[in-house]
Symmetry: C2
Subunit: 484 residues, 2 copies
């Protein structure tokens, strides 16, 4: 049934059962998102009492749609599932075309009530009989920015196609609310974050972490995998799957239930056995699975992994335009304990002394430079070039509070030239933090539009750089074992 998952991301026509003409309903937003992202094939709204929604003619039921339908989205009140499944049988007996159902509606098994469980059973029994894969129930749907699918009911005022950009991040979320928040956070960046595939799995009545991880494992469009998880009934199998894939593609996991009370809350929510967190944590470390602690940390690390090459090691230089932010960054760096300050060679030191302002602090302490507020755009960039050219440096954290008298735009263009056009970012990762807030959206957009990630704070750079350095150490250890 694995091939059926193709129909989740690249279906031949989609039916939305419970589509609505009322903008306050999820069944309206799903249609709006699907049409807005530019889904190239046919969309069939199913609604008994409307004739047309967003210009699309409505069908009265699934069985009445004459064209092929491979993907069905259900956003009807849960109690209607019995009738819908009856109708689905009619269709499958005749056309046998549906391959995937996304049951976005809630009020199924997650309620732990007899009614809810019965509804979920009805859905699953019908689906199994016809070899239909089910996503959900109780999920927010699927986005594929390459195949232009968006079945979510997360309302955004960005044009959906603003996100359509070929990124290689694919993401799985167990929680719909976290999934929605992650999408909204991604949209709020200086340049909206473009995931490749994004899926909210809800109750995991059928399609679950392992199905999707295995799908992403061989998916050529997926370079990096992110997941938010609360728990999973077959922990050992999940870890084995993650461990196998992490050797090929980096995986970043935000797993909650880290604490006893967090686990207790998770248990009430998804019934997950979250007490096993220590086991997960140890396994994540052992198998090079990156564990993020916050949503921001997870998204930052995914973006950096997708956009930049891996470093050769963990020797990461701190290159700051100002003392305060540099010291602030150094504290976070040392507390993280994930990286080493490199000792650059005398030639690099000389190059820095020659190019930077006389007041610049070069390597006091080692692995650190403060180029000072008097540094010009050229000095910002040429100093960075010198540091990147040094073989003792595996990566650089670059921080600047662009002074009033420098053009932020000129700095953005100069950094873009060095990193993207001259290809430095393909050799070593550079974690850029241009402070702060709305005032630097333009310069960050120049960089991000050209594929160079930027970060909100020095601490964000440190966390992400540390995760990636640790992942690189894991891969190197693996390589040594494999040779031995």
């Amino acid at each position: 049934m694995k091939e059926n998952l193709n129909a989740l991301f690249c279906p031949e026509n989609i039916a939305v059962v419970g589509a609505s003409g009322n903008p306050a309903k999820a069944g309206y937003t799903i249609l709006k998102n699907l049409t807005g992202i530019g889904y190239p094939k046919k969309i069939f709204p199913v609604n008994k009492s409307e004739t047309e929604i967003l210009g699309l003619p409505c069908s009265r039921s699934l069985s009445q749609i004459e064209d092929t339908v491979e993907l069905v989205v259900l956003i009807t009140p849960a109690a209607m599932i019995f009738d819908i499944m009856e109708d689905l049988k009619l269709r499958m007996e005749k056309q046998a075309d549906i391959k995937v159902i996304i049951c976005a509606a809630a009020d199924y098994g997650e309620t732990k009530t007899a009614e809810g469980i019965q509804r979920q059973n009805c859905l699953m029994e019908t689906a199994k009989r016809w070899n239909i894969r089910v996503v959900g129930p109780n999920c927010i749907g699927v986005i594929d920015n390459v195949n232009r699918i968006d079945t979510t009911f997360v309302e955004t005022h960005l044009p959906r196609n603003a996100r359509v950009k070929r990124g290689g991040i694919s993401f799985i979320s167990q929680s719909g609310a976290m999934a929605a928040s992650i999408l909204m956070m991604g949209d709020s960046r200086p340049v909206p974050m473009a995931m490749n595939k994004f899926i909210s799995i809800g109750n995991m009545a059928d399609v679950d972490f392992i199905d999707l991880l295995e799908y992403f494992e061989t998916d050529e469009d997926t370079n990096v995998i992110g997941m938010y998880m609360e728990g999973y009934p077959q922990g050992r199998l999940l870890i084995e799957t993650l461990a196998r894939i992490a050797r090929k593609k980096p995986i970043v996991v935000l797993k909650v239930g880290r604490t006893e009370m967090g686990a207790a809350a998770a248990n009430s929510h998804t019934g997950s056995l979250a007490g096993a967190d220590a086991v997960y944590d140890a396994a994540f470390r052992q198998y090079g699975i990156i564990r993020a602690q916050t949503m921001e940390d997870m998204l930052n690390t995914l973006r950096a992994l997708d956009a930049m090459t891996l470093p050769k090691g963990n020797r990461t230089f701190i290159y700051s335009q100002a003392g305060g932010p540099g010291i602030y960054c150094m504290d976070a760096y040392m507390e993280a304990g994930t990286m080493e300050l490199p000792t650059i060679g005398s030639q690099t030191r000389q190059r820095l002394a020659d190019s930077l302002p006389a007041m610049a602090n070069i390597c006091s302490p080692e692995g650190y430079a403060d180029i000072t507020a008097s540094a010009s755009v050229e000095q910002h960039v040429e100093g960075l070039r010198s540091v990147l050219d040094d073989p003792a440096v595996d990566a650089v954290i670059f921080i600047t509070v662009v002074p009033t008298f420098l053009s932020r735009k000129a700095l953005g263009e100069a950094l873009k030239k060095l990193l993207q056009e001259e290809g430095y970012i393909k050799k070593k990762p550079v974690y850029l933090c241009i402070m702060a807030g709305i005032y630097v959206h333009e310069v960050r957009s120049i960089l991000e539009d050209s594929g160079i990630p930027t970060f909100d704070t020095p601490a964000d750079c440190v966390k992400t750089a540390g995760h990636i350095a640790m992942y690189q150490c894991f891969l190197q250890k693996e390589a040594v074992w494999n040779e031995a």
Copy 2:
């Protein structure tokens, strides 16, 4: 000379030496900011080669200004200090009016060069002779949003008066770059952050932490004090001052140089003896001085302290609209270890059961509720009311990812009614996180415009609520000692 500091925040006329008509120069931005914020008295640009800048007639020198001048801002190349001080003598011999100099220019003592030190000595000797207080050199200046002063050269595209709102936060920064970043971060919030007084002290050649702390101690407009520090030569005196004031007004400190390497970088920067961090840290804990770890944490805690009442204790309830964000918050809460989950009474439990959706999780675990995505606006708010009414609850962390089918604006208005109009926020603090990003700016603005702080993430709520709970514990301990 303490009264002279009044002229820093409320001067009778201001001269800007080094004012410029070139928008790329700091001397232009200072004039633009001063006029933009609506400084109500006279501004005198001093520039030998221009006749008028931004509609203000230029003077050729300080001594040629006929009106009274109490505050002088210097933004000239450092080498000109000798001539300017000669001219200043001429003025003081005649008019004796200048009370404060803000030396924004750099290239003084901080360079540790003979020339730099000589320049700073020239400035200080002249100032001392005439009892003039000096802020800087090497600083970004002063803002007073009540008296409408802004001598900074931080360029913003917000109308300066967007920040003019009566807040009670006064802030001192040792680093100009951190100060600029903090201002830009504050401007980037859903509602720009309005500090009361904001001052960057640079080299502290004269006006330093203690001067300003003592000023804020008795300043009726200051409710909460924030500071960014790298080091201070008289640590014991600083701690004594902080300890005395913290009993009356909360103080939030972001002190860098926490780590050995951070301290080494600080030492190169300000020559501060940062090795003393452990001593500072212990003193902060002992005397109820709140230590923030990040800029965001510091600003959040300042905002919350300024806007809300202190809790009676540390029993903080987590009230979430969704499972994922609730569990995520619980992990952060337990890891912080600063608060206790309250056990609410059976009456409150009944009220929640009566008002919340049937699927809601009420108190599993204790001190936690998940009202679920099916909760209406009214249920969001009435549930919160029930929790706040319970005497076992000292504070609430409230998290929601507003579902598509609920009006965010209606939720904002309903929360504003409960918290501000019905006065709940004057009884107990409520830390609101409405997720996420740009999509919730409008609802957050409704709340913040009415004086209710909101937070970006559940983790931000936890950090701030924890700091404030700890501060409250300190005050209670103090009260017990005082009675004993």
